[in-house]
């Protein structure tokens, strides 16, 4: 038999190890972000001369000032906001409606549609760039934000649909049936009862699609050639010149690019963590 003291010691050791491992993981995951910040405030003249240090001996905001006032970065940034915002919006609307249909209805060809949507996720994107370019070019959709929004939406809809479907699956059918008996049509029941309860799911989908579109590089690079339609991941490459890489400015741009993604998640995190359906049914 173990004594109380021994078991307390064991418990402390258990939780200690637990937290230590979590802390190690968080440090591992966040270290690159820390380095991004560190390099962005390091003056150019000491970037290479100081060696590897955890924090530079002097800091400066020059990189930020340059990026915001003298580069095309604000323009790229706006393009990214437009493309990611609309992609997230359109994807969510389509995914909500399709996800609901998958969750609630039995119809002919459902399995085929699901299979086709899964298949679209299996190909490496590189394979698809040439055909997509050939399709978009005659339509005048290359080198335009609209083209990017269409392509991103198309690529995100399947996954977002499955995501939304799982959220709808989690909402009991009884709720909309009750609403339909109370006097709603099915669509009204969807809009007034089911959608408000799916807000956490919609928020998660919005967040997922927004960040995916925000950081997409391959299509943005291949389908857009003019500076006016470039998004910020492409813009970051402009800090790489023939003669060198301007790390300070690039990192400053990177930190700035983090802001909207973080702000977006701050905005939706209330819904992400909310267990809104608690109490709907027994339990």
């Amino acid at each position: 038999m173990s004594t109380p003291g021994k078991s307390r010691l064991r418990k402390t050791a258990y939780w200690g190890t637990h937290y230590l491992m979590i802390a190690a993981f968080v440090a591992f995951a966040l270290f690159p972000l820390y380095w991004l910040l560190k390099v962005s405030v390091t003056p150019n003249d000491i970037l290479y001369t100081e060696g590897v240090r955890m924090w530079p001996s002097r800091t400066t905001w020059d990189n930020y000032t340059f990026v915001l006032t003298q580069s095309h970065f604000p323009h790229y940034f706006m393009n990214s906001v437009i493309v990611s915002g609309f992609t997230a919006l359109f994807t969510c609307i389509i995914a909500a409606v399709t996800g609901y249909a998958f969750s609630r209805f039995r119809f002919n060809g459902k399995i085929v549609i699901v299979a086709l949507m899964l298949i679209t996720q299996m190909f490496p994107l590189v394979m698809l760039i040439a055909p997509i370019f050939r399709i978009l070019a005659p339509l005048g959709l290359t080198d335009s934000l609209t083209g990017l929004i269409i392509v991103y939406t198309a690529f995100n809809v399947p996954f977002a649909t499955f995501l939304m479907q799982s959220f709808f699956d989690g909402i009991p059918k009884d709720l909309e049936e009750a609403a339909m008996i109370d006097g709603n049509t099915r669509f009204e029941a969807f809009r007034r009862i089911i959608l408000p309860l799916t807000l956490p799911g919609i928020a998660a989908t919005l967040g997922f699609v927004f960040t995916a579109a925000w950081s997409e590089l391959l299509f943005a690079l291949m389908l857009v050639s003019s500076e006016s339609a470039s998004t910020f991941p492409v813009g970051l490459l402009s800090f790489v010149s023939k003669f060198g890489v301007d790390f300070g400015q690039m990192m400053a741009a990177g930190v700035l690019a983090l802001i909207p993604a973080c702000a977006f998640f701050l905005l939706i995190q209330r819904y992400l963590v909310q267990g809104l359906t608690a109490g709907a049914v027994k339990g």
């Binding site: 009750a178 008996i181 049509t185 608690a278 027994k282």
Partner: protein, 370 residues
């Protein structure tokens, strides 16, 4: 309030027939309980009345109007779900008033109706709470309140008490019954719990395998079950069944069990010598008797379950388990042999092939069967 007429209603999912032609007339103000094991089609029938399932063929009329093609919202019925299905993002008051709000009822009228019903159900203090802040019993009450506020043509209940603990279930059973007496609303109540069916129903509809097996008042069904299924399903502890062959002698009829044990019974008309029969005896219709009292049969005691008020004695008769209910507290030893006697006036005889009960000659009337 309205009557509900169901005429030859069928339901199929593809090639699978779930309901095979249901005929049922529910009177205005009647409390009907659909009872049967899982998968018997009782919930499907209820959902067809509600309009949540389409009718493959046949008619359902509410208040004389055929509603086959009407949406649930146009049928003017209210339903209480097993899961309660309260809208989690609305308060209790909003939940209860939702249907009225959709009908564009004036706000004062809605709140007056909510207050009235909340008073009846004791929900006044909870009106501003969300469902997640309520206990199971309170949620159940809100679900009932939501149905009552609307004053619908009929109430449909889909196993509304299944999620409550035994004590609360008993309490709600009484409340629903009282409420029905007060409102006089036509109600269709689905349950798999035969005690709920017995205690609540004006009439019970016993269903099995998509077919109505018997319709009748609780006592009709208990005393004169139409067939072996109804006899076995209704009543707790369940009826004992012993099958054997009919032997008619000058002294009377007897059922000869597989091991040769002979149990005398009052023969219904038209039984013939050698016919395969099943004897059904409720546990309270078997007595433990002293030695020599005729006519009795020997049985071995397996188990004794004292329940305070009564005792349930499990015995083995001719290799078959038999339960005996007694209000006495018999002092019996396990594995001992006792003599038991069947109350011949109360035991039932079923045809083993058709499983139908063979009514006795002196029965007042045969129960309504499908």
């Amino acid at each position: 309030m309205a009557s509900i007429e169901i005429t030859n209603a069928r339901k199929s999912y593809g090639a699978v027939d779930v309901l095979h032609g249901i005929d049922l007339d529910i009177q205005d103000g009647e409390f009907i309980v659909l009872v049967g094991p899982s998968g018997c089609g009782k919930s499907t029938l209820l959902r067809m009345i509600a309009g949540l399932e389409e009718i493959t063929s046949g008619d359902i009329a509410i208040g004389g109007n055929v509603v086959n093609d009407l949406d649930p919202k146009d049928r003017d019925i209210a339903m209480v779900f097993q899961s309660y299905a309260l809208y989690p993002h609305m308060t209790v008051a909003q939940n209860m008033g939702y249907a009225l709000t959709l009908r564009k009822t004036a706000r004062e009228k809605v709140s007056a109706a909510i207050d009235n019903v909340a008073g009846i159900l004791g929900l006044n203090a909870l009106l501003q709470r969300r469902p997640k802040a309520l206990s199971g019993g309170q949620r159940q009450r809100v679900a009932m309140g939501r149905a009552i506020v609307r004053q619908p043509q009929a109430f449909l209940f889909d196993e509304p008490l299944s999620n409550l603990d035994a004590r609360l279930r008993e309490q709600m059973r009484t409340e629903i019954r009282k409420l029905h007496r007060r409102l006089g609303a036509t109600s269709v109540y689905v349950t798999h719990d035969q005690i709920e069916a017995m205690t609540m129903a004006d009439r019970i509809v016993a269903m099995y395998d998509g077919i109505v097996q018997q319709v009748g008042t609780p006592l009709e069904i208990y005393d004169r079950p139409a067939n072996i299924f109804v006899a076995s399903f209704i009543g707790s502890p369940a009826m004992n069944f012993l099958s054997g062959t009919c032997q008619i002698t000058a002294q009377g009829c007897a059922l000869i069990l597989d091991d040769g044990t002979s149990i005398p019974f009052l023969a219904p008309p038209n039984v013939s010598n050698g016919q395969k029969l099943t004897l059904g005896a409720r546990p309270e219709h078997i007595d433990i008797v002293g030695n020599g009292s005729a006519p009795s049969v020997p049985a071995t005691v397996d188990l004794i379950e004292p329940m305070g008020l009564s005792t349930l004695v499990h015995v083995t008769l001719a290799g078959k388990p038999v339960k005996i209910f007694t209000l006495a507290r018999p002092d019996l030893a396990i594995d001992s042999t006792i003599e038991i006697a069947f109350n011949m006036d109360k035991t039932h005889i079923f045809d083993s092939e058709t499983e139908l009960r063979l009514p006795r000659a002196n029965e007042p009337f045969a129960a309504e069967t499908a």
